[in-house]
């Protein structure tokens, strides 16, 4: 029996539907809405272990005047740009190649997805050793090929730290490859065949047929990548803890540091700002990617 909407559902079904939804709704209210509400309220207080008093916008003023916050904004922006300009386009390119069913494409797809199953902290720990200046893989390879002058302490050098951190996640495209590849494989073959008959080459078909048709999923991947880059925390914390000299400090770390020193009101104010910025990102990307048209 198809139920078009709850209002049109028979009474007995309405009860069953409501009962089924209740636990999920309860969890949503308790672990999300109440948490967000607490965040929003305490962001306007000077909440510490000693108590909380309403301070209005003082926390936000302090945040915007803090040079470290500005540095965190800059670094997070760089992370987001890396996700937008490298991670998703690379995933799209790889998906287009894998869609041609090259030899071993299934194995490649699985291999690309493996890092997505590891925690960011574990990846960070591995890369601490990869970038170690004394015995790390990167410097080791550079020495082998005779580029000793390029060796350095990648995670501590003020010029390379942020790029080294970005390099630890920007090439992990497995999840996006799978999503995009799935969409490509869902395109009716007749469209491709028609274009082929008309003389369109492989890359022409990818550019003028495939890419426009997979725009919604690419936009969705862009959204996911941007939000992930925006909320980067665990691998940065493990690898650099925001250093050297705040060169890898992210918004998430900034809030965490405020929380660690007991300034919970300020930490929640930073969290509220991140929430608002994240929501803005979602709206912008949905508008640019014209994802609203997919909702209808």
């Amino acid at each position: 029996m198809q139920i078009a909407s709850l209002e049109k559902a028979p009474k007995g079904s309405r009860l069953a539907i409501g009962t089924s939804l209740a636990p999920g709704l309860l969890l949503f209210v308790v672990f999300f809405l109440i948490a967000i509400g607490t965040l929003a309220v305490t962001a306007f207080t000077n909440w510490t272990i000693r108590g909380a008093d309403f301070v209005g916008f003082d926390n936000f003023v302090q945040i915007f005047e803090d040079g470290r916050f500005q540095m965190a904004m800059r670094n997070t922006t760089v992370f987001v740009l890396a996700a937008v300009s490298v991670q998703v386009p690379l995933a799209t390119l790889v998906a287009l190649i894998l869609a041609r069913k090259i030899r071993g494409w299934r194995a490649i797809r699985v291999t690309l997805f493996l890092p997505n199953m590891m925690s960011g902290a574990a990846i960070g720990l591995v890369y601490i050793f990869v970038f170690n200046p004394r015995f790390g893989l990167v410097n080791g390879l550079l020495r082998v090929v005779g580029l000793d002058e390029w060796t350095r302490d990648w995670l501590v050098d003020i010029n390379t730290a942020i790029w080294a951190v970005i390099a630890t996640w920007v090439f992990f495209v497995g999840l996006f490859v799978i999503l995009i590849l799935n969409e490509i494989q869902g395109i009716p073959t007749e469209i491709q065949e028609a274009a082929q008959i008309d003389g369109a080459g492989r890359w022409q078909r990818d550019l003028w047929i495939t890419l426009p048709l997979i725009r919604p999923v690419v936009a969705t991947c862009m959204l996911l990548a941007v939000l992930a880059a925006f909320s980067q925390f665990e691998n940065v914390y493990v690898m650099t803890a925001g250093g050297p000299a705040d060169q890898t400090l992210t918004l998430g770390l900034y809030g965490f540091m405020a929380y660690s020193r007991g300034d919970w009101g300020l930490a929640n104010a930073a969290g509220l700002l991140m929430l608002i910025m994240g929501a803005a990102f979602i709206l912008i990307i949905r508008r640019i990617g014209r994802l609203e048209s997919s909702d209808r």
Binding site: N132, D153, V156, A241, G242, G243, P244, A245, R261, G262
Partner: protein
């Protein structure tokens, strides 16, 4: 619903109800086992000798006082870095254990939301026991909570004399100029003069550099005494300026390992124990970290250049939130048990550190302790300068800021004033 499904649903409901009841049961009952105390630092640990000793101490106490007192072992709250945060959350929830370890910084933070047991009346009632603690080891939080220190550790510098000999050096340097000369020779021999980690070890070197200057020991001991006033303008303090600039030059001139900023003690330690670095700074337990007998045999533990010795007066100690006279008596019984001569000797031998109370080691205990550590402890009484470590007298934010800005300073991206201003800000925040 099918009959079997009804039965399964009933069984699932019964199991769930039983689990809920079990989970809501009070965790601590006096069922003829006397007063029960909870402890979060008493669980066994195959990797942490300090934790393992506490566990064995707890087992011995429970056996000794069976039927009268019992310590219930709760799961540990996390690593040393995580513990502070965990205890703050427990304090807010009114759920701190009866017994745990904390340093004075943490106790000061918790005092506003937790009621600690006051050890003073118990110490006043036993002046001989109270006076057995080394002067200054009984530290207090800002509202007077006493922390009973677990140990008194002494740190000079560990040198591998085999590495020194390979560089043509017969004795460890006794002056900072001597350290530089020795360092040049060690570098020429293709070895690393100082194994550092950008965190624990580096800050110990910094403490030595400050403490061995004129007025340095007094300054550091003053920070220990007036903990709340530890914030200061480091940039205008010549002790700090001289120390960080000298330490920076050691890095710039190649006296340290390539990965000098990674904050991983074990990485620096690996260099030393492999015989590739000439020196390392650590507490007396460093002797247990040298597994190679040949390196252990050639290692000496001597005062830092300038004849300075760090004395970890206090650091982490026992605190209690016991709130009834009966529980407080039980806690005091535990303290007296833990600080008996027998237990303090056992602790010193097990974890390779020194007791917080004045204790004449038996010949048997002295024989089990590494001779180099005993020699340094004996030398501490006559050292020109003795002082605490900066890690101990400054709040945790100092080390976070140090790890953040020290690499940039050494690499010339910020200057001395900027580094010291950042460190000062972190201490104040």
């Amino acid at each position: 619903m099918h009959r079997n499904q009804r039965s399964e649903a009933a069984l699932a409901g019964a199991v769930t109800a039983a689990l809920l009841v079990a989970g809501c049961s009070p965790g601590e009952t006096d069922s003829g086992e006397g007063i029960v105390l909870t402890c979060t630092v008493c669980a066994d640990s195959p990797t942490d000798v300090f934790a393992q000793y506490n566990h064995e101490l707890t087992m011995r106490f429970n056996e000794e006082y069976e039927g009268q007192y019992r310590i219930e072992i709760l799961p540990p709250v996390g690593s040393q870095d995580e513990a502070g945060e965990a205890y703050r959350r427990l304090a807010l929830a009114g759920n701190l254990p009866d017994l745990f370890s904390a340093d004075v910084n943490l106790v000061t933070q918790l005092e506003s939301s937790a009621q600690f047991m006051d050890f003073q009346p118990f110490l006043d009632a036993e002046p001989e026991f109270a006076n057995s603690f080394y002067n200054g080891t009984l530290e207090k939080g800002s509202t007077g909570t006493l922390v009973i220190p677990e140990q008194r550790s002494i740190a000079g510098v560990f040198y591998n004399t085999a590495v020194l000999e390979a560089a043509g050096i017969s004795d460890p340097p006794t002056t900072w100029e001597g350290l530089l000369a020795a360092g040049e020779a060690i570098k020429s021999a293709g070895l690393t003069p100082l194994a550092v980690d950008g965190a624990w070890i580096t800050v110990l070197w910094l403490s030595h550099l400050i403490g061995t200057q004129d007025g340095g020991a007094e300054y550091l001991n003053g920070l220990l005494a007036e903990r709340e006033d530890a914030a200061g303008d480091f940039a205008s303090n010549s002790l700090w300026v001289e120390a960080v600039e000298f330490l920076r030059d050691l890095h710039v001139d190649g006296f340290v390992n390539e990965d000098a900023f990674h904050g991983e003690f074990l990485q620096a330690n690996a260099l030393y124990v492999a015989g590739e670095a000439a020196s390392i700074v650590n507490g007396p337990w460093q002797a247990d970290l040298i597994e190679d007998p040949s390196v252990l045999e050639t290692t000496v533990n001597v005062p830092a250049p300038g004849d300075g010795i760090i004395v970890f007066t206090g650091a982490v100690g026992w605190v209690s939130t016991a709130d009834t006279p009966e529980k407080q008596e039980a806690v005091w019984a535990f303290i007296k048990f833990a600080y008996s001569a027998e237990e303090q000797e056992r602790r010193s031998v097990t974890v390779n550190t020194f007791p917080a109370i004045e204790l004449e080691f038996s010949e048997e205990a002295r024989a089990q302790l590494p001779a180099m550590n005993v020699a340094l402890a004996d030398a501490a009484a006559d050292a020109t300068h003795t002082y605490p470590s900066l890690s101990h007298v400054l709040p945790p934010q100092f080390l976070d800021a140090w790890r953040n800005f020290w690499p940039a300073y050494v690499q010339g991206d910020i200057n001395t004033d900027e580094l010291l201003d950042r460190l000062s800000e972190a201490v104040v925040s």
